[in-house]
Symmetry: C2
Subunit: 373 residues, 2 copies
């Protein structure tokens, strides 16, 4: 697995359970996953030598992020390395422009969009799509980075900076959505697919803060449509492994926002809330093992991310959180605490959505140091 | 953690979740747990230098087996190492004679018993306790080793061999039991305790084969009595961490058979069937973190051990097992397959006990190579 973040860290137990040897390519020895994976190669994800060392003897190479450039993927593939997902599929998670064109071509509902190559095109693009406009870099954005809302034709500062740095940009109509949803589908090389229930995600400043599984009070037709879209996109893009489709729910149904081809923050709930968690499911898919059941194990599961606060020590807060609620599941990522950084998450499983939200939010806020009682 | 077996292997994910650094003392680099724990010290569990290296800088030393001699435990304790459970408690899991005396002194129901120091005492001991007699070595037995049933006074071969080798022996009345039960209780240094539901264990040739959680159709009074005994023993022996109490259920109630002070085969079901699994619970207890809920997450959970067969490869069978039942949870231990060796286990969670037993047994038997369809 390329990448040493928390997604790789949480994949390690699944590999151990399945008796599968897991080798990691991590940038540093103290990366989140490198702390818990014995067979770790150190190197950058765009370093051909490091990638070759990772791949040597591996049956399959997969990813915990999208940062391996296409040139390096091509080199690996040419050397006979089995990449899952493959380079062609992965390109759609790396390049939002390509993704938008492809999804539109498939007839998948997406926001109105247009490439934005020059600053002088901004007024016309905004007038065509409507103001405000969402402008994104097509590559490299995550957790709210690389996305900005442009209020009118005079609001050019961020866009001008990106264009000056040579970034390729995409403009989209601002979707006045009710809420955000996500669907995960696992697909194996032999074409077996398993789709998880539709979840609701709550983003703050572009960072995923909360996930409710399944999405509360979701109309069954909308749920089936969302799952159908995820299955359609997964098959059309020949995506092997997990595909996460992030969507906006509007009055008219759903509109696809982003794609990720790996385990994803919106699936952490599955560790306790589904029969097969997303990390084991991803490994089963890329190894062409039969997929596990994505069924929920309880009526409701709520996951809340723990963002770093000012206090570098999480352990004292952990004592309080575990004492207050013996059913809260705490996952810490072994990452140095920095304000706003994702350093862990908490999950609570049960029957009553409002109760679960209150408990999970309290635990996460306490760990973050936002509250002290 | 001292020991590199599957219990330590399955403890690693819990340590990672809690953000706790886990160092291991394993005998070999390819031991089950050493494959998945980065910070592994190689050495024997009775080697003072290896134990000292393990303990250096650790807040707590705990165990995945009972094989650290008391002399070495005393040396560690004298050097200020925090042992949990402590040496005095652990002695009762190491020495069945001491355990029997102590439990009898506490008024805990145990089988009739007597030390057996000389072969010429066998007839009198057997006549006093009744034939057949169960004879055990007080130390070092596990998975049926170190236990024999002696039919009559002439049946001396095994016992004579043990006595000749210098082993200390214990004779016990043969309990004509209906079934075997086990109870796990976690206890922290500050005295908090959490007791798991009573489970039924099915042993074949002294090796645990199946566990049903909770024990089906168990009278509530018997269940409460069994849990009460486990809590009593845990507190009386000042056992910190998990204590597993194995019992016989007879017509008159329960009789305590064995004690283990660590995660235990009878608790593997909790990985999927309880809110807090036994491995996380043990770590929380020995670290004096608040304990988690031991509540079951479903009406029934069935665990069946996978014993090695003649085929060294488990992976082809894994394909079939996962394809046949998308809800089966397979745990492989990364151990070389040898006939009769515990190489993994499977767990199924649901509503209908008989259905779960059939499915889990099929998966385990198929992985073992005992069946091929």
């Amino acid at each position: 697995m390329v990448g040493g973040g928390q997604l790789a860290r949480m994949s390690a137990p699944a590999a151990a359970r399945l008796g599968v040897g897991l080798r990691l390519l991590a940038e540093r020895g103290d990366d989140s996953a490198a702390q818990v994976v014995v067979d770790t190669v150190l190197g950058a994800p765009d370093d051909p030598a490091a990638l070759a060392e990772l791949a040597r003897g591996c049956a399959v190479v997969t990813f915990d992020h999208e940062h391996v450039p296409q040139a390096q993927l091509a080199t690996l593939a040419a050397a006979g390395v089995v990449l899952r997902p493959g380079a062609t599929a992965l390109a759609h998670a790396q390049d939002k422009g390509l993704m938008r064109r492809r999804l539109a071509g498939l007839g998948v509902p997406v926001p109105g969009w247009a490439p934005l190559a020059r600053l002088e095109d901004l007024p016309a693009v905004g007038d065509a799509l409507g103001w405000p406009l969402v402008v994104k870099t097509t590559r490299g954005g995550y957790d709210g980075r690389g996305v900005t809302v442009v209020g009118d034709a005079a609001d050019t500062a961020v866009v001008a900076g990106w264009l000056a740095s040579g970034a390729e940009l995409l403009a989209e109509a601002y979707v006045d959505f009710g809420r955000e949803l996500a669907v995960q589908v696992a697909r194996s090389p032999s074409g077996q697919a398993a789709v998880y229930p539709v979840v609701q995600t709550v983003q703050v400043d572009g960072i995923c803060r909360e996930v409710y599984a399944p999405a509360p009070d979701l109309d069954e037709e909308v749920a089936l449509a969302a799952q159908g879209l995820a299955l359609q996109v997964s098959a059309a893009l020949d995506c092997v492994g997990l595909l996460t489709v992030e969507m906006f729910q509007t009055e008219d149904g759903v509109v696809v926002n982003e794609l990720a081809m790996r385990p994803h923050n919106s699936g952490h709930w599955s560790l306790e809330g589904a029969v097969t968690d997303q990390f084991e499911q991803h490994l089963r898919a890329v190894l062409d093992l039969p997929l596990g059941s994505p069924r929920t194990t309880a009526p409701a599961t709520v996951m809340v991310n723990v963002l770093g606060g000012d206090d570098p020590a999480l352990y004292p807060a952990l004592l309080h959180v575990l004492a207050r609620d013996p059913e809260v599941h705490v996952h810490l990522y072994g990452k140095t605490v920095r304000p706003g950084r994702k350093v862990g998450h908490v999950t609570v499983v049960g029957d009553d959505h409002a109760d679960l939200v209150a408990r999970a939010r309290h635990a996460a806020d306490f760990l973050a140091g936002d509250i002290d009682e």
